[in-house]
Structures are given as structure tokens and as C-alpha cells.
Symmetry: D2
Subunit: 138 residues, 4 copies
């Protein structure tokens, strides 16, 4: 069975663009994170549910291929998939499309680790959150 993808959309803002009149590449990583935030919101929790338990979610690795530029006012559709779900880490895959043309603009991933705020060491993802993530895992 193929994994469920979470989808959301963003309108490109003027502040997302640069002097080449396209979205600055660093902002794709911000769209990744905003999508992760909306995914958590969709599941009924937020980063705050981690920090309240003394856990940060630092990003340990990130990658993106930029295939086609996005321009001001374009409507982007971002597709999040759970590529790997481990006890202490998650790898999210992202695809960003131009929602109107369906052209793939960018694809990439982010690996995050649950880290104890005190020690900085990797720690278990809380069980209740893990249960909510599992249905999206491959």
C-alpha cells in the first residue's frame, strides 16, 4: 500500500522572491518547514507539544533539487511524505508543484531528530505523536 501524502498550498509572496524575480532557493526549505508545521496541525499537535516535553526537533540534514522557478503570486502545492520513521528520527520527503500547471518545481527532503533540550542527545519521539505519524509511513 502506498503511503498517504499530506498536501498544502502557499501563494508566493513578494518577500519570497529575489532579484532574479523568482523564489530564492533558501525559501524552499522554509516552505518545507511550513508544510511540516501544517502537517502537525492537521494531526492535532505542533512543535510546542515536543518542546513542552523537553524535546527539540533539530534538522540534521536537508537537500533540495530546484527544477523550475516559481514566481511572485504563483500558487504552490507542497506534498509531504514520511520517507523514514525511526524511534528517534524522521525523514520527510517534499515535492513542490506549481498548482495550476502541475509542473514539479522542486523536490527534496529533511531529516529531523528528536533531541533532549537539556542534554542535546537524541531521544525517543513521544508515543502518542508516533502513533499519529505511523499511518503516513511507508
Amino acid at each position: 500500500m502506498s503511503p498517504t501524502a499530506f498536501k498544502t498550498s502557499f501563494r508566493v509572496s513578494w518577500t519570497d522572491t529575489d532579484a532574479a524575480q523568482v523564489v530564492h532557493f533558501s525559501n524552499y526549505f522554509r516552505f518545507f518547514e511550513r508544510t511540516e508545521e501544517e502537517f502537525y496541525g492537521h494531526l492535532g499537535f505542533s512543535f510546542n507539544d515536543f518542546t513542552n516535553k523537553g524535546i527539540w526537533l533539530p534538522r540534521v540534514e536537508s537537500f533540495c533539487q530546484f527544477k523550475s522557478p516559481a514566481k511572485f503570486n504563483d500558487l504552490l502545492e507542497v506534498e509531504l511524505t514520511v520517507e523514514e520513521l525511526k524511534e528517534k528520527s524522521i525523514k520527510y520527503g517534499f515535492k513542490i508543484f506549481n498548482k495550476e500547471s502541475a509542473v514539479l518545481l522542486a523536490n527534496g527532503y529533511v531529516v529531523i531528530v528528536a533531541a533532549d533540550k537539556q542534554t542535546g542527545k537524541a531521544t525517543q519521539i513521544p508515543k502518542d505523536i508516533m502513533e499519529k505519524l505511523k499511518p503516513f509511513s511507508k
Copy 2:
């Protein structure tokens, strides 16, 4: 006697620009803050010397007039002046020039308040820091 001004310079980065191929207006406020940070560094301290004493420096008001655009790779000179130095607040004035042409690009101000991190209430600026700021005050 006229107050001493602190000056620093920044090269406009590609990420500072937007699709109009000029520095996005919100980034002038970031140049203001980076200048304030360098001013503190010049005086031998940083925001950390406030936070270590349980004090935040929230901005309570900010204003800027944008007179002429800055472009990628322009060298900016920012001039900071201490417009008002009170027990619990500071008003910094800023002027941003194109360093090569000497054209005034923007001028504005930021009002900051020393706030207790616990209560959120306005509190005294630490004395040692106050002493270092006084020579720059009108």
C-alpha cells in the same frame, strides 16, 4: 557638542533583494538591528549581556522612510545615533547611505525597552551598559 555616531557598513546580498531588484523594505529594519548589534560589539558587550541578566530588549516602535533604492552588491553605510537614552528605554536613530555615492537611502528609528524576562515589565538598563552608552547620547 553633537553626539558621536557609530558607523558600520554592509554589502547588499542577493537574499536582501526582491523581484523589484532592490532591497526589500523589511530588510532595512534588519540592517538597523545588525548595526545595533555591531554597536554593542564595538562597546564590548552584546544582547547576551542583557539576556544573562534576565533582560530582553523588545522593540516597541520602529519607523523608516525609504528615499532611494539599494541594489544587489551596493555597499551601504549605516549611521547609528542614540536619540534618547532613558532609564528603561533607548531610541536609536539610523541613516543608511550608499557608501560610494553618499546618497541617503533610508532613515528611521527604533525604540527598545529593557524588559524583565520573567514578568515582561520594563526594567532598568544595567548600569555598566548605561555608562558605555552615555557618551553617544545627545
Copy 3:
């Protein structure tokens, strides 16, 4: 008759925050602009309808008072009003509220000018756009 306000809302993203664990003050100016963009979208046009006619909309002045901090995941409601509508310039007023508590977090304004892309000089706001803005003007 009191002018009509345009309202939209934003969820505070992790990238909007700073080390004081609140929204960085410069980002309020970005929320202003994103609200202006959504206002235009609501009226059926965008910045592109200006640039296609050879017109930029540079910001010439901006101000904001920061009254109460916004935190990660807060839902913000931004209210835009047309404070002044002139032949060549517009002053937009903004109020940002915490949507759940209804507390006013920030209020400010932005003055924009229609500028000819070639000459850089102030020019008339296109008539069809002017007609759409008038009902929101005081």
C-alpha cells in the same frame, strides 16, 4: 460611513520567530505586505497587474508599534484599512491581533507610491485598480 476593513489570518511559523521565542519585529512588516497582497487578490488583481503596466509600488514610509509579542503557532488576524487614497499613493493602516485572545499585538502603516519603472517617478495608479480600492477608502 466607516471604511470597510479587509481581514486575513496567518499562523506564526517557526521561521518567523527569533531567539526571544517571539516573532521578530521585522516580520510584522512582512505580514503587512502579505496582507496587502491578499487584499489585492481579494479584489481580483496582484502586484503583477502594476508591473505589467510598467509600474512598481515602492514603499516610501513604514511604521509599527509592537504592543504584545506573538509566539510560534499563534494565529494572527491582520486588519487592513485604506487610510489615504491619492492619485499616486496609498497609505494602508494595519492592526495585528492574536485571533484567539483578540489582543492587539501591533499596529502600523505603510505608504506606497506608484512609480514608473523606467523613470522612477511617481505616476497615476491605474484607473481600474483605483475603482476597486475606492470602496475601502475613508
Copy 4:
């Protein structure tokens, strides 16, 4: 012979941080680009020397591993190396260190392509610029 590395340093600004009180991961990609800009400045040219010839330098791929957090006011040293120099593309490698502790904070790369502004197609990197880049190539 090992390739020459270009080095520059940046002080972490408050605006670079997020609510975890560390540099937001997307800003490492901005430090990459600012280093590339300073590298070009060191060689006596800038992005403008490309755009003036009708060439953009879109990023087609970027990657970063985040090994240790950077905090406000930390002094970062960024090391740029030319990993691959092809007729139409360049792969830059980056290492970001805490300059005081010499701890490696992040390492990654960016692949850029010279693209014709009109057609969007890959094009030759101008010869004079190529000559300046060669001494840094492996």
C-alpha cells in the same frame, strides 16, 4: 596539489536565530550564498557581471548536514571550495565552523548553472570568469 579554499567569516545576527535559540537551518544556505558572493568579490567580479551578460546563476541542487548548532553572536568561519568546475555549471562545497572553537557546525554544497536569461537554457560560463575560478578548482 590540494585546491585553494576561500574563507570568510560572519557574526550570527539576532535575525538569523529562531525560537530554539539557534541559527535557523535555512539560514545556512544563505551563509553559503553570501560566501559565494564574497568569493566573487575577492576575485574582482559579482553576480552583476553575469547578469550584465544576460546570464543568471540559478541554483539547481543544494545539500547541508547540520552537525552542531550556532547561537546568536557566534563568529562563524565559512570555507568555500570549488568541487566541480564544468563549462556550464559549478559545484561549490562549504564548511561552516565556529571560528573560536574550530568546531564544524555544518557542511554542504550548492550546484549552480549558468543560464541564458532569455531562453532559460544552460550556457557557457564567461571565459574571463572561468579563468579566475580555475586556480580554485581541484
